[in-house]
């Protein structure tokens, strides 16, 4: 058991928050995420499951099944494969899903596939800044999405 959890800085547009990684509950996914840092990509908003912001990871990223849930809660940071049709209206034939890193900022969110909930790896939790992020995300939804950056704190 670690006494000090690894923390990441999450920046979205004009605001930032802090993520605490679940190194004990999701060791493989937490390690994978650390290896991908820093991440800076265009942020997107879910159109099918509520209040989720996510970025698309590179296609070679392989996410293990670990610490999964279909009941995401506010502040959860998740990694999983999102159906490609939710991302782009057109995509190459060999992509049916894309690896993504996302986070949930509001109640009622339920990440799902085409016909059922999706199991998502819960790799961490937003432990501060959520009050700012939950304002910035809907602002970007109205005014346009910029990039999201994730780096070691």
């Amino acid at each position: 058991m670690k006494f000090v959890s690894l923390k990441l800085r999450l920046q979205l547009g004009k605001v930032e928050g802090v993520i605490e990684l679940y190194e004990d509950d999701a060791p493989q996914t937490a390690k994978l995420l650390q290896e991908l840092l820093p991440i800076e990509k265009k942020a997107r908003h879910a159109m099918e499951c509520g209040r989720e912001v996510y970025v698309i990871l590179d296609d070679e990223v392989e996410i293990p099944d670990e610490n999964q849930t279909i009941y995401q809660t506010v502040g959860d940071v998740v990694m999983y494969y999102k159906p490609a049709i939710f991302i782009d209206p057109e995509w190459p034939d060999y992509y049916n899903e894309r690896p993504v890193l996302g986070w949930v900022y509001e109640r009622d969110t339920a990440i799902r596939g085409i016909s059922a909930p999706l199991a998502t790896n819960v790799v961490g939790k937003i432990v501060s800044g959520l009050d700012l992020l939950r304002v910035e995300a809907p602002r970007m939804r109205r005014e346009g999405f910029a990039s999201m950056r994730l780096s070691l704190l």
Binding site: H45, M47, E48, C49, G50, D108, R112, I114, G144, F145
Partner: protein, 171 residues
Amino acid sequence: MARKIILDLEGETATATMLEKFAPLTCEAVWNILPVEGRAIHANWSGREIMLHLEGEKLLRIPSERRLRSHFVAPGDIVYYWRDAQLSRGKQLAYSSQFQRELSEFAIFYGDPCGEGLEADDPSRQLRQVSLTSHTKFASLDKPIPEGFLKKCEANRHEGLKRLVVSRFEK
């Protein structure tokens, strides 16, 4: 001759045919408030859908005209939707000022996926709250839907609100 409407989303247009046979009250009410304009926002529950909220004197309160047994919709469907102010009280904190009020809107489904199973997950659109909401499909976008209009709808997801004008289309 069926009535037609035209949707202009920041310069990209599409026409739609009103379904007066199935939804005469809704079609008449909608026709009478046209033109309607506002800033369309993209759905975040129901897939490829943009919404235009009806404001002020354009706000409509019309009961559902057909019994809805499912939330099935298809690309091209335009649905009138009304929601009582009571429905989402205390929820959706990020949108509290906007969403904790009565809502009347056009829901314009422009592509796959949309509808069954997805929209049904939106707590504020579930059918059990029948006295607090109404839905009526009243028009359908003429096919093929222009590519430019589709791309503009998709851009609405990433670029934010876009001006949408819905008018009578009379040649």
